[in-house]
């Protein structure tokens, strides 16, 4: 490393920095700076060669092995059909106070009439997720997540008592899902009560909330 008399790194002449930022014609630089310009541009060129390997086949093989409906709405059409049938349901574990808030809703769902003569059992791979959030003053709250392709307009929460407690339910495939609340159509908020979060991969400190949906007929706690 080149050090100057003071022990620090030698600064580059601002004119050279400008030329390297395409803000100045390098032809106007003094000869010694033109040499430095050429040295740095040569270094960049040496680093710019096309890599000899490819991961395309590997990535496409993994993509082809994914469920086909990953990016389609089939899941929701199936969920809508499922909701029209009386079923036993399994609920996602939530912090105690949110369960309390939703007690009325839970009771209503759990008391849905069953058909002992052979109602179609719930799909073994699905369960009900319940979302509750406290957003006083919000005009709208919706849920986007890995289960609806992070698309808005598909799962709106309700604040029927106008007390800032927004809630809603959805039938989801059993397993782990990531989600966010979208408040007033523009503010993305990770559920502060989710209890579990994962890095969303798009920036330092940005996280998605995680929910676990149990299978409707599962006896094992998640």
């Amino acid at each position: 490393m080149m050090l100057d008399a003071g022990g620090g790194m030698s600064p580059i002449d601002p004119r050279l920095q400008e030329a390297l930022d395409n803000e100045r014609d390098p032809g106007d630089l003094p000869a010694d700076q033109q040499d430095a310009y050429a040295r740095l541009m040569t270094a960049a060129t040496l680093l710019s060669a096309k890599p000899a390997v490819s991961v395309a086949d590997r990535v496409m093989a993994e993509i082809r092995a994914m469920p086909q409906q990953l990016h389609t709405g089939n899941r929701w059409r199936r969920a809508a059909r499922w909701l029209t049938r009386p079923l036993a349901v399994t609920l996602r574990l939530r912090p105690a106070w949110t369960l309390g808030l939703a007690a009325g809703g839970l009771a209503a769902i759990l008391l849905l009439p069953g058909d002992e003569n052979g109602p179609e059992p719930p799909r073994a791979t699905e369960g009900i997720a319940q979302f509750v959030g406290h957003f006083p003053g919000a005009r709208s709250v919706e849920v986007v997540g890995s289960f609806n392709n992070w698309s808005r307009g598909k799962l709106h929460l309700r604040d029927e008592n106008h007390n800032g407690i927004w809630h809603g339910d959805a039938v989801l495939p059993a397993g782990q899902h990531e989600y966010m609340f979208v408040v007033d159509g523009e503010r993305w908020v990770a559920d502060p009560l989710a209890g579990r979060y994962v890095d969303d991969g798009f920036g330092v400190g940005r996280q998605n909330a995680v929910l676990i949906v149990r299978q409707a007929n599962s006896e094992d706690a998640p």
Binding site: M1, L40, A44, L47, A49, K50, P51, A56, V59, T72
Partner: protein, 181 residues
């Protein structure tokens, strides 16, 4: 079938509409740059390939979360940059093996290969000696040819900060590259 000249946003719409094979267009379009970027960040072609493969699969899974498909390139570099940072965080900097860096050029003249290989090794060594943020800034600016605005989208850093990182990286590289050219 989607033509390779179709804009990113249109390809993204096709993928989200259920045409998963169309994602191959995006891979062909951006894989070389992503691999080059990851290789320069990690100094190891195998780790770079893993990071890019993981990033592309993650991008596919979360494609609907890309809020501006017109800026897909920045989004993909951002995901890849994050994967590289995760890889780097799991190992010490001095574990980076410059000798494992891939051959970059393929000229037919054997002497040119040797000479160029030595030059590449020198530049890679100088680049690897930079702190991670400056290395990233230099590669995005001068190897991937991004504007400072696009770099800001990729890194989440402010433009004045990025300019400072690039300037410092140039100074350090220039000092280390006195033998070059």
């Amino acid at each position: 079938m989607v033509n390779d000249s179709v804009p990113d946003a249109e390809v993204v719409a096709r993928v989200l509409g259920g045409d998963g094979e169309a994602f191959g267009i995006l891979i062909r379009r951006y894989e070389p740059g992503l691999l080059r970027f990851a290789t320069r960040m990690l100094g190891n072609p195998d780790a770079a390939a893993d990071a890019v493969a993981e990033s592309l699969v993650r991008a596919y899974r979360h494609l609907a979360q890309c809020r501006d498909p017109g800026r897909l390139r920045s989004w993909l570099y951002r995901i890849t940059g994050n994967r590289c940072r995760s890889h780097l965080a799991r190992r010490r900097t001095n574990d980076i093996s410059l000798s494992e860096a891939p051959p970059l050029a393929d000229p037919s003249d054997a002497w040119a290969v040797v000479e160029r290989g030595e030059q590449v090794a020198l530049v890679e060594r100088a680049l690897a000696a930079l702190p991670e943020e400056k290395r990233e800034a230099f590669v995005l600016k001068h190897v991937e040819g991004m504007s400072y605005e696009e770099m800001a989208q990729v890194t989440g850093a402010r433009i004045p900060t990025l300019k400072m990182r690039v300037h410092r990286a140039r100074e350090a590289l220039l000092a280390a590259l006195q033998e070059l050219v």
